[in-house]
């Protein structure tokens, strides 16, 4: 018994170390992302410009403070938000394929954005500051609406995880069809803008929307972590978790609410970036298992790291061209994912 307990405690220590390591990788990836770019400024210049903003030229200051930093921060926040949302979603829906994409959140956001871009339909008070935010606000609104619809279904006592997943799939198809309709009706110019939006890009990052997303993450993440034990128990089955005192209906409701906020906000600012919400939690799970006290923070940092690497690569792949990060995310995510799947397959785990 003593030996087993020591073994367990070593495992716990190892898990904490792995989380610290992933966090360190995320920080390193953030720095690499920050110093990468087409302006020709080296790493030293960028770091110097951050430390002493008043000792560099206004042009350099603009690149570092208005482009590099908000982009890199946005990559971190979006990766962390989508990955954390995906981890919770996979558990509450008991479905490893679940992600903010699977449930139609991104499709709804795309539709909302398309209405704003193509038809100029937005919130009634879309004047002044709101005009700049119209596309994002509309995307958020629709993403959140999709989640509210799922919420309404989840609240029905009889509706289990399966029903939610099916409804989510239905929402994906419905919103995709509606977006296609809007595309069909739109002008050439608007179409191009819309296609660019749906690819997912960090180029809309500003200090103000980075701050909004950071705030959402900062508020939501502690509540996620506070539910970690209940989420772990839910992995043992819904009935069992209930009999261990977990109010599964309430857990699912609040969890979906957190997921809505994270995913809708992230998608509203950067467009449809898929895959992070799916692959981030999977990588974290393969490394650490499903004790959510470790899985949730690990997912958050894994998502941030992947997104930062993807962002850096999006600037490097074609010199001088900033590729939409959504394309790169899948390009680097898939190989990592396949590597881990085959590796864990060989171990028979």
């Amino acid at each position: 018994m003593k030996a087993m307990l020591d073994d367990y405690r070593r495992t716990v220590r190892r898990r904490v170390m792995v989380i610290v390591l992933i966090a360190a990788i995320a920080v390193a990836a953030f720095v690499v992302d920050l110093v990468t770019g087409p302006s020709g400024m080296g790493a030293r210049d960028v770091l110097y410009g951050i430390a002493y903003p008043d000792r560099i030229t206004p042009g350099q200051r603009a690149i570092i403070w208005d482009v590099r930093l908000p982009y890199a921060m946005m990559a971190v926040m979006v990766g962390a938000s989508l990955s954390l949302a995906g981890a919770e979603m996979q558990t509450i829906l008991d479905n490893p394929m679940a992600s903010p994409f699977t449930l139609g959140v991104s499709s709804a956001a795309s539709f909302g954005a398309s209405l704003a871009i193509v038809l100029g339909i937005g919130l009634p008070f879309a004047g002044g500051w709101a005009a700049d935010w119209m596309v994002s606000l509309n995307a958020f609104l629709f993403a959140f609406l999709a989640m509210l619809l799922l919420q309404a279904v989840a609240r029905q006592r009889a509706a289990g995880a399966q029903t939610l997943v099916l409804l989510g799939i239905a929402l994906v198809f419905a919103f995709n069809a509606l977006t296609s309709l809007v595309q069909f009706l739109s002008s050439q110019e608007a179409l191009q803008q819309l296609v660019f939006w749906t690819m997912g890009s960090l180029s809309r990052a500003t200090w103000s929307n980075v701050s909004v997303l950071a705030l959402v993450l900062l508020v939501v993440a502690p509540f996620s972590l506070a539910s970690a034990k209940a989420l772990t128990a839910l992995r043992l089955g819904e009935d069992r978790a209930q009999s261990f005192g977990v109010d599964v209906g309430r857990l699912r409701f609040l969890s979906l609410f957190r997921i809505s906020l994270l995913a809708a906000t992230a998608v509203a600012f950067v467009g449809a970036i898929g895959f992070i919400g799916l692959v981030g939690p999977h990588i974290a799970r393969m490394l650490l298992g499903e004790d959510h006290r470790y899985l949730l923070p690990a997912s958050l940092f894994t998502g941030a790291a992947i997104m930062s690497v993807a962002s850096a690569l999006s600037k490097l792949l074609v010199p001088g061209v900033l590729m939409p990060v959504g394309i790169v995310t899948a390009m680097i995510g898939v190989p990592i994912f396949l590597f881990l799947i085959f590796r864990s397959g060989r171990q028979g785990a």
Partner: protein
């Protein structure tokens, strides 16, 4: 009010159809093991789930004098634990982690004395799978999984343990092992164990008392030798059978015919 489980005038089922109606059970004392028997759709699982609070019910379920019906899940979970037939597949947790997870899912009735990992290990030792503690739960055999599930339920130190067909997927050796363990744990920890079983011989072997359900009503109840009789088998299961109750806990049954 006296100690033990008192179920009176209990009705439960689906929204549009009651499965059990106005059902009362004879009082069950602490430390007793009770088998719920009956054909398919007799209401065994509904009764068990109603006792667990998983299916809404009307009526009274008193445990040691406290009314359980209508208690919030978290409060009920301090006294009652329910063990479904099987654990889900594809869980990336070690055996020990699942037991710790069960313990920490919500506060238990017994104050959380000592370290969670130590308590979980002690329970794994009691069910005899200490050596599997650090194994992935998905790597276990069916019998080992069921023992792990039992450990998850036991670690919460329930006063009432409810098991839904705990042995339906197990080989003979593990069937006996799990059932005997449940009975000795019930006695040892002064806990009431209520099991849904299909195997009458297994029920006779471990139960202090059996309750035979038929169409949502109690058709027979009492010690196995009194409640499992040719008349009850004919009446409830529609089979003609000869039964020898050889000694305490041993039952020999020959089925002759379907009625």
């Amino acid at each position: 009010m006296s100690a033990g489980l008192h179920v009176t005038d209990l009705s439960a089922g689906y929204r549009d159809r009651a499965v059990i109606e106005h059902l009362s059970l004879p009082p069950i004392a602490r430390g007793e093991t009770v088998a719920l028997l009956g054909p398919n759709a007799a209401g065994k699982s509904t009764l068990l789930r109603a006792l667990a609070g998983l299916t809404p019910a009307r009526g009274s379920i008193r445990l040691d004098g406290d009314e359980l019906n209508g208690l919030p899940l978290a409060d009920r979970a301090k006294a009652v634990t329910y063990m479904p037939q099987t654990l889900p597949q594809g869980i990336a947790l070690t055996v020990l982690e699942t037991v710790i997870g069960a313990l920490e899912a919500s506060p238990t009735g017994q104050g959380h004395g000592g370290d969670a990992a130590e308590r979980a290990m002690a329970v794994l030792g009691r069910v005899g799978i200490e050596a599997l503690a650090m194994r992935g739960i998905d790597q276990l055999s069916g019998g080992q999984r069921q023992l792990a599930a039992l450990a998850q339920a036991l670690v919460r130190a329930p006063r009432l343990l409810l098991l839904d067909e705990p042995t339906s997927a197990l080989d003979l050796n593990h069937q006996v092992r799990v059932l005997d363990l449940v009975r000795s744990l019930a006695r040892e920890q002064d806990m009431i164990a209520v099991l849904v079983l299909h195997d009458l011989q297994a029920a006779a072997r471990i139960a202090d008392r059996v309750v035979v359900l038929s169409e949502g009503q109690v058709a027979a109840a009492g010690p196995p030798e009194e409640a499992i009789t040719p008349a009850v088998l004919a009446d409830v299961w529609r089979v003609r059978a000869r039964i020898d109750h050889c000694e305490r806990g041993s039952l020999r049954m020959v089925i002759d015919d379907i009625l």
